[in-house]
Symmetry: C2
Subunit: 262 residues, 2 copies
Amino acid sequence: MSEQNYTVNTPYGLTTPSIQALVAAGRAQQPALLKVGIFVSPGFMPMDINGAQSVFTIAGAEIHLIWKHKELVEGYIGWPTMPTMTFEECPDDLDVLVVGMVPPEVIEDPAVIGFFADKGRKAKYVIGTCYGSLMLGTAGLLEGKRATSNSNVVPMLPDVGATPVSGSEVVIDGNIYTSGPATGSFDASLRVLQALRGEELAALVELAIEYDPRPPFGTGSPELAGAEMTGIAQSMTAPLNQLYHAAAKRGYAGYQALQTGR
Amino acid sequence: MSEQNYTVNTPYGLTTPSIQALVAAGRAQQPALLKVGIFVSPGFMPMDINGAQSVFTIAGAEIHLIWKHKELVEGYIGWPTMPTMTFEECPDDLDVLVVGMVPPEVIEDPAVIGFFADKGRKAKYVIGTCYGSLMLGTAGLLEGKRATSNSNVVPMLPDVGATPVSGSEVVIDGNIYTSGPATGSFDASLRVLQALRGEELAALVELAIEYDPRPPFGTGSPELAGAEMTGIAQSMTAPLNQLYHAAAKRGYAGYQALQTGR
């Protein structure tokens, strides 16, 4: 037995021949490759985009991680991620544009708001999970739309012009799909895949990822967890949520000022 | 409104002050930081480790992405990831060692098998999700243990000395936690967090990530999907699974030869 030497270098980092063969075989079955743009930023939350990255990977899509620059950003926490596409490189004909939790600083960044206001209007479908709904909101994409997010953000949604919907179901309004965190990314992405390519493929992907969750404690929503535990959780994230609320209002005001000024 | 300038450079890439404050506040509530080592490799599957990375991040842990070298590896697909710890840097006192789907080439790599045979025996808890169970298997960690994986791998588990368990529940045998893919990583990680820090914290993390999944099609296991759809899925992954089966047998034989030779 000798040391293996099996790695293949790609622009996205090292992979292996077996994975390259898997990708090629999957793509050969697709009529045209879906173009999926996933927004990342300094301090982004991996779990909120992971469902989209996984579901559309299995569906043979092109996956692009989009940020201003191709510079290493830290997924919260400990997940150094290299973006693969800049704002300038992002095409107008994305099939899906995805955003999960990004820090409050990012949701009020005019350059990022400008990116979403532009590409979010042109993409065929848009997915916002968790705090990502606020990012869509500050870019004006939720105006007059029903939308959801995590339970702390739902009450903030009117401040970006949206009609808030609570609960753990994906909320669909036109081509905008919003959800809570974590598995919300799987749920919303499977729904968008259904809209793009039909239920047969989407259900097959749900099987391929063996999406048969078993939450151990049954405490995955304020309703399930009860008032006491919910109070503890809310007090722990209160400082963060104050930052988000203020940033959402400032960011959306900036967006509105730009619209008025046009 | 002017261009924001809010990024903070860290050894793990750019983040923001709000995320740094969130991490500091979370860690201040923990008695000692859990040390979590997550194995990554060329072509690793992000969704199979994302539950661990998320759950232990929320619990204030140190998160280390471990590979041979600090060189960019592609998460399958399109997710360039920079490992943050080498095999040599990995401490003996990991609280948790995690492995998800890694390519067949990796599960028979003697250097990787040696790493798991060493650190996997020393870690307090070990999590294997999806094809990651085979990685534990070729390193001898499943000998005489009950274990699970994805439905295609379960029948291969006896070939690495394990007693196979089918179904979507996390299988716990001693300090080894195995599960299926995707949400299996959340389920197993929440269970390990419960074992390490108690149910109160683990249930609070389940609430914090609002783990209240709504699989859209109810096809997330062979039993749920039925024979016809399962047959289609199995035929699509058959070439890959043949590679895994052969690699698992070769890798485990190599491990056994080393043990006999000692």
